[in-house]
Symmetry: C2
Subunit: 144 residues, 2 copies
Amino acid sequence: MKYPTRLSDAVHILAFIALYPDCDLTSNKLAESVQTNPAYVRQLMSALRKGGLLVSVKGHPRPALAREPEKITLLDAYRAVEGNKPLLHQDIHTNPACGVGVNIQLVLRDFYLDIQKTAEHKMQEITLKDVLEQYHIKLEGIHT
Amino acid sequence: MKYPTRLSDAVHILAFIALYPDCDLTSNKLAESVQTNPAYVRQLMSALRKGGLLVSVKGHPRPALAREPEKITLLDAYRAVEGNKPLLHQDIHTNPACGVGVNIQLVLRDFYLDIQKTAEHKMQEITLKDVLEQYHIKLEGIHT
DNA sequence: TTTGATGTTATTTTTATTATAACAACATAT
DNA sequence: ATATGTTGTTATAATAAAAATAACATCAAA
């Protein structure tokens, strides 16, 4: 595969937009910071828009947050770009004729849901505001 | 397919071994239940052995748990087969010349570690004993 | 009207994961 | 001792998810 970095890139984009609210932010400029191509950035922004986190209009390089940073959580961003993809994956190709394997996978399903819920709860507690705050603290630390 | 299922398969194998403690369990039989090939099973078992969860000897098809099921957690199994691989992945290819991006990724790192810790704590609370207990409960539900 | 950007779709490339093959080393039974 | 079967390990191939890229119609603004 290739490890998914959509959430990281999405937060990167959201933070960048929050930091430069009144500037022309083309997908090209954002792509430079993420070091990727503009089309990928636009794809992520499309997902964020559909997720209700971002507003933007075709042809106009002025994306803006759809709501305040304190009301945008990491879980919101995750849902927008990853949907309901779980963090841990079951093996859905085990032998259906083997009752043992089938039932073990059924049990694992419940435990994975539990873990997922726990992680998502944490992700829901972290907002874009938190990210921006820590960002500024990091910046101050550098300039002193 | 191609999402990682090593943890799922590892637990599958561990549970199977726990359920049939005094039987010949060849990698072939286990592979039938997981519906994969014996070599992959042996690779997972090798990781579990190195992780101290399993004991087995070359040429002898009698794998056994290295310790009681209540002392084997999902986190133990995860560490054995996934090492320190995180659940969420940072984008480590952002533009190093862009201070904004660099610092956002640094901040994300801390938050991801927080989420990771939370998930791992939950994984540590779930033992193979729990899996086996739920397995038996599921079985009873079927036979009544 | 021209320029430049977006939003979207389709295709290619990359790479982590699983599948598979091959074989030396070991256990067991005869 | 030998034959048989299994493990442990390594190397390579196949698969599939993610990111990279290309292409273009559509829209905004000067």
